[in-house]
């Protein structure tokens, strides 16, 4: 998995690409660090270039959510491909995050 973080109006945009599995935990820690340091109340994950996410990847998003909530940061998962979108649906992530197409 690769990632890029940029500041946007009101928060940060995190663009993920590639495959997100257990071996990406180190990189995702860096994403979480950005979330901890951020100003604003929005954290948008752009998933349009994310090809695959497994159960470990889902867990990483949930850890990010645990970091965001005390800071009143809303996490949005945006632009998931059909395959990744199906995983988010199976995991009922729409009950936990703002999920947009």
């Amino acid at each position: 998995m690769d990632y890029a973080v940029q500041e946007i109006d009101g928060g940060i945009l995190v663009s993920l690409s590639g495959r997100m599995t257990l071996i990406d935990h180190g990189k995702f820690r860096e994403v979480v660090d950005s979330l901890e340091r951020m100003r604003g109340t929005r954290c948008v994950f752009d998933l349009s270039k994310l090809e695959f996410v497994d159960s470990s990847g889902l867990g990483m998003f949930l850890i990010a959510r645990d970091i965001a909530m005390p800071k009143n940061v809303e996490i949005e998962l945006r632009g998931a491909t059909e395959g990744v979108g199906r995983v988010l649906e199976i995991a009922k992530f729409a009950t936990l995050f703002t999920v947009r197409g």
């Binding site: 935990h25 820690r29 497994d54 159960s55 470990s56 850890i63 970091i67 395959g83 199906r86």
Partner: protein
């Protein structure tokens, strides 16, 4: 155990057993590749070369102790079998290799591929991490928990006798469905005790995902073998 008749003078030497097998009823060209190298490139070349069975030798040069069914159906074959060490299986995207091959063979439609790849990936991950490596506890709410979980996985992989344990993936199909069996050599578990996880659980949702995707899920050998079926 290899395919072929087991007689009173069954050789114990792996190379001799293999030679006997390949000399058996199915002849020399049987679509089986035996290799000391279990990397993705070697496996992919074997499958692209119309092999249906890839057997990775362990570091001591021994054949895996798996039942290799005879196959006189092809080429084209109607099954795939990968028998890898745990170290190798962890290092590569086995589900990608399997699904790539099934798509090339016309067995798996592109539209179905994402779900099957995920289910097979989760089944392989469970067999590797929870089965053969014996790492039971997943990540928790602590951001450092993934680091510790991964460290536990790496620690187990560093033990030679653990890393050489076998992961076997056997895939076969008919007109109606694709059947996948993933087998490990771990302690086993009681699948009935794996309860539904909450949506915000940081780990333990692999089996839940598998059950949502596969049309049939069954366990055998005290949880060491998971059998999945997917309608085509």
């Amino acid at each position: 155990m290899m395919g072929g008749d087991a007689g009173p003078n069954q050789p114990t030497d792996s190379a001799a057993r293999l030679k006997n097998f390949l000399s058996g009823p199915t002849g020399g060209t049987v679509g089986i590749v035996v290799s000391p190298h279990g990397d993705a490139g070697t496996i992919r070349r074997a499958l692209d070369g119309d092999a249906w069975c890839f057997l990775e030798l362990d570091p001591s040069g021994n054949l895996p102790d798996v039942a290799v069914p005879e196959d006189t159906s092809g080429p084209p074959w109607r099954q795939l079998l990968l028998a890898l060490t745990t170290g190798t299986a962890f290092s590569l995207d086995g589900a990608v290799l399997i699904c790539d091959r099934l798509v090339v063979l016309g067995v798996l439609a592109d539209s179905r591929r994402p779900e099957l790849e995920l289910a097979i990936h989760e089944a392989l991950s469970n067999a590797i991490i929870h089965g053969n490596l014996g790492v039971r506890r997943g990540a928790s709410s602590d951001p450092g928990s993934f680091d510790r979980f991964y460290a536990a996985v790496q620690g187990a992989l560093a033990v030679p006798d653990v890393a050489r344990r076998r992961i076997t993936a056997h895939i076969h199909w008919d007109a109606a469905a694709i059947h996948v069996s993933i087998t490990d050599e771990g302690r086993g578990f009681d699948a009935e005790t794996v309860l539904t996880v909450e949506p915000d659980a940081k780990s333990g949702r692999g089996l839940q995902i598998i059950r949502r995707i596969a049309d049939r899920v069954a366990f055998s050998d005290h949880g060491r073998c998971i059998q999945l079926s997917f309608r085509r």
